[in-house]
Symmetry: C2
Subunit: 195 residues, 2 copies
C-alpha cells in the first residue's frame, strides 16, 4: 500500500472499531492489526491515539457529506421535505444495519469532552458544520413561508440535531428503530410546521 | 466502615470517576483506591466491573429521584410549568458545576449498548422509568387542555428526553449552557404548547 492508502485504511479501521464501543474500548494495537500495519506506520501518520481519533472523526464526517449533500441539495422539493428525506434515509440505513453504532461524534463527545480541549475544539467544529447545513435548510424554509417567520433557525437546527443524537443512543440501547421513528414524527409533525 | 457503607462509598466513587470520561476510562483499581478499599471488598459487593457500573447507574438514577419528585410532584403549578421548572433547575445545576459530566446513563449508553445485553436491559429500564415520569406529567397537562388533545405523550416524553441527552452532550463539548437554554426555549416555547 502507498502511504496514503495506509493512512486511509487506518482511518477506516478506526471508524469501524471505535463505533463498536467508543474511544477507550479500542487500543491502537487492534487498529494497526486490523490493517496488518506497523506501529511505525501508525505513528508516521498520527501523533498519538487522540490525534488519530480526531482524524477519524473528521474522516467520518467527510464520508457522510455526500449523503447530506444528496438529501439537502437544492432540487424541486421544498426544504423541509428535503430535511425529512435526509433523516428518513438515515433511519432506514440504521434499520438495515441492525440499529448499532449510532453516531461516532456523539460517542467521542461523551467520552472526551471533559478531558481534552483539542477534542472539544475538533468535535464542536464538526457538529457546527453539520448544524449550519441544517440551519441553512431551515432558513430556506422559513423564507418561503413554510415555517413561522420568527423561527430561530440556528437554535432550532441545534435542537433537532441534539434530539437526533439522543434518539440514536436510545436506538442502539433498545435495538429498535422506534426512537428514530418517533423523532421523525415529532420533528416533522409538530416542530417544523408553519404555525 | 460497615459493609453497607463500603458498598455505597464505592458506588459514589464510581459515579464521580465514570462521569469524568466514561466506562472504559476508569479502572476498578482507581475506584477502589478512591475509597481506600481492597479488591476483596469490591468483589464481595460486585461480580465484575460491568455489574458495578450498572449498580452505579441505578444508584445515580435513585439519587436523582428526589429532584425529579420535588419538581414534578403535584402542587398548585400547572404540569407543563412543573416540567419546565425541573429542566430549568437542572440547567442551573450544570451551570454551577461548570458544564461538565452530563448524564452518566447517556455516557454508559453510548459505550455499552452494542456490547452488553445486560447493560442494554439495565439502562433501558432506567431510561424507561424516567420517561414514564415525564409522560405522566404530559398526560396530566393534556387532560386539562394545556396540550393538544391528540398528543402522543409517551412518544413526546421520549423525544424530549432524547433532546435533553443530546443537549447535555453539546453542553459539555462546548462548555456552555447555550444548548440547555436552547432546549428550554424550543421545548417550552414551541413544542409543549396548546395548539
Amino acid at each position: 500500500m502507498t502511504r496514503r492508502d495506509t493512512r486511509e485504511a487506518l482511518l477506516i479501521a478506526g471508524m469501524e472499531l471505535f463505533l463498536e464501543g467508543g474511544y477507550d474500548f479500542v487500543g491502537t494495537n487492534a487498529i494497526i492489526a486490523r490493517v496488518n500495519g506497523t506501529r511505525g506506520s501508525f505513528y508516521h501518520h498520527f501523533d498519538d491515539k487522540e490525534a488519530f481519533a480526531l482524524a477519524v472523526a473528521e474522516y467520518y464526517y467527510e464520508e457522510h457529506l455526500p449523503t447530506l449533500d444528496r438529501a439537502l441539495g437544492a432540487d424541486d422539493r421544498p426544504p423541509v421535505e428535503r430535511l425529512r428525506r435526509y433523516f428518513t434515509a438515515l433511519t432506514r440505513d440504521f434499520a438495515r444495519h441492525g440499529h448499532v453504532g449510532g453516531c461516532l461524534l456523539g460517542m467521542f463527545g461523551q467520552e472526551l469532552a471533559d478531558r481534552s480541549p483539542p477534542a472539544r475544539a475538533s468535535l464542536s467544529r464538526l457538529f457546527g458544520r453539520w448544524r449550519h447545513r441544517i440551519a441553512d435548510c431551515l432558513r430556506e424554509a422559513r423564507d418561503r413561508g413554510d415555517l413561522r417567520a420568527n423561527l430561530d433557525c440556528d437554535e432550532t437546527a441545534a435542537f433537532v440535531l441534539d434530539a437526533w443524537e439522543g434518539a440514536l443512543m436510545q436506538m442502539k440501547l433498545r435495538k429498535s428503530g422506534a426512537p428514530l421513528e418517533g423523532f421523525l414524527r415529532v420533528v416533522f409533525g409538530q416542530l417544523l410546521t408553519p404555525s
